[in-house]
């Protein structure tokens, strides 16, 4: 008898625990979603009741050059960041695999960048990149010129991409490394017997076998490209001439400086949808169902 009461109450406790999270989500997830929908289709300046304005916000946003500039900057950032982060993390993973002693130490050095503060290191890198900073002093003493990191649009974007890559290469690399660990040794032994050249081994065995990890890294790079705020906000402030303005910065400006939350809400819906669709497309194109026959 006692046993069955115990069991019933356990199920009830389980349901109550799940319910507590659902309540939390109702307040801090679902309710904001409702507001997002309302804001996207209304005119509102943070006071009074929002008034329905139909597709007006959409039309304004689509004609806003800052918004398009922000989206274009996502592509510019991604085209610099993705090759650096992808090649870097692949190199890190292969390198880590070939190390004898001190694997954990090396991995921890790279991961330290991943867990350290984005705010603090945005400031640190601003100083490192500055025209009289150590990087430029080094370049000047070697080649006799200074790199205009902050005044050239492409170099400014590169600077931000380097900072973000510094932060994430260790993490991405560890993801790829964990994939490399799961490849059975006999696959390589068989390839060696067949005299398969190293490059072909990489292309035909290694990369297909870590397809899942590579896609994970790719999805992360897309998410980062759409979602960076701290680094550009603190390093370049969006400059020069708005060429490092990211969508989140445009949304922030629109909502809290220009006081147009309706426009900002519509922007965030478009940006989130774009990132979601892009990730779906990228997965469709890249995903391979690799099976060991």
């Amino acid at each position: 008898m006692r046993e069955s009461i115990g069991r019933i109450s356990e199920v009830q406790i389980g349901a109550l625990l799940a319910l507590s999270y659902l309540l939390f989500s109702a307040v801090f997830w679902a309710y904001p979603f409702i507001w997002l929908t309302i804001l996207s289709f209304s005119d509102w300046r943070f006071f009074g009741a929002p008034s329905f304005s139909g597709l007006h916000n959409l039309l304004v946003v689509l004609r806003d050059p800052d918004f398009w500039g922000g989206l274009w900057n996502v592509i510019r950032f991604f085209s610099i960041y993705f090759p650096i982060a992808f090649a870097g993390s692949l190199g890190f993973a292969f390198g880590l695999k070939h190390i004898g002693h001190g694997k954990a130490f090396i991995a921890l050095c790279f991961l330290l960048a991943n867990i350290s503060s984005g705010v603090a290191f945005s400031l640190v890198f601003t100083k490192l990149f500055s025209s009289t900073g150590p990087i430029n002093n080094f370049v000047f003493s070697c080649f006799g010129f200074r790199i205009p990191w902050m005044s050239d649009p492409t170099l400014a974007m590169l600077a931000i991409a380097l900072v973000v890559a510094w932060k994430f290469i260790g993490y991405y690399g560890l993801i790829i490394y964990s994939g490399l660990q799961t490849i059975p040794r006999d696959l390589y032994d068989a390839a060696l017997l067949d005299n398969t050249p190293p490059f072909k081994r990489l292309l035909r065995i290694t990369l297909p076998m870590i397809n899942a990890q590579l896609i994970m890294v790719m999805v992360f790079t897309i998410l980062v490209s759409f979602g960076i705020f701290t680094e550009p906000y603190l390093i370049t402030g969006g400059g020069p001439l708005g060429r490092t303005n990211t969508p989140l910065m445009v949304i922030y400006e629109t909502a809290f400086r220009r006081l147009q939350p309706g426009h900002a809400a519509m922007m965030s819906v478009i940006v989130a949808t774009a990132s979601y669709v892009l990730i779906r497309i990228a997965r469709k194109l890249m995903e391979r169902d690799v099976k060991l026959a």
Partner: protein, 284 residues
Amino acid sequence: MMATTLRKLVGTKSAGSWLITLTMYGLALCWLYPIGWMVMASLKPTPDIYTTGLFGGQLSLGNYDFLLSSATRLHRPFLGALGVSFGVTTAVTVSVLVTSAFIAYALARIAFPLRERFRDFLLLQMVVPTMMLTLPMFVLIKQLGLINSYGALIFPSMMSGWGIFTLSQSFKGLPEDYIDAAKLDRARLWHIVLNIMVPLNKSIIAIVALFTFTGTWDNFMWPLIVISDVDKMPLSVLLATFSKHYGDYVGPVMAGAVLQTLPLVLLFVLFRRHFLQGMSLTLK
């Protein structure tokens, strides 16, 4: 002679292999360079920072003095901000860990009604981009009258769907016997979670704790939006505003950066074992 010592040191056979090892050590040093530069710069007078080598120049704690005294002179209460950051981050991390552990146990081990739906809901939440929610979340916080309060920083992050999901995946893998044995002893739910599940899943809990702590401690955009009162700012935002207005004081800014980084690095170094282990578990 040199080569053999090196070979012994790196413990590999071929020349190519130890070349890779040396390169990796070199790269690891490069990765640490910004951290080392930050620490050294924070110990030098500002005019010396760009003109001396990494380890050159006169070292002192003057920048930290300047930073802490700027509370009265420049109205930048860094000590208070450090307290806010610690209070908020601890509250969020403890809350996330406790709620995640119990709800994850329910999700992994108790067959409550609609359990699979609940799991699907967590997965859905993780797929939907959260960047959309920042602005409407601000509206909610404003409606609750929490603008410029610590509640604005704590309440929205008190539970984590990711934390629940990650822990439940790990709890599921544990052999049933442990729990059955505990149930035979008539152990209560909280006893099972705290004395069996938590100690057996330390690594994964360390991961959730570390990522939650880092994410909250280093959150910038959200406190920037909801806190405008200088006396209630967390360190991340106060440091950014300080750097914006007094960016030429490179030394003090770097001292602030060290303060902002130090707790994260300490936690990381302290839990590095669990962290590496947990990483390899979550990445499986």
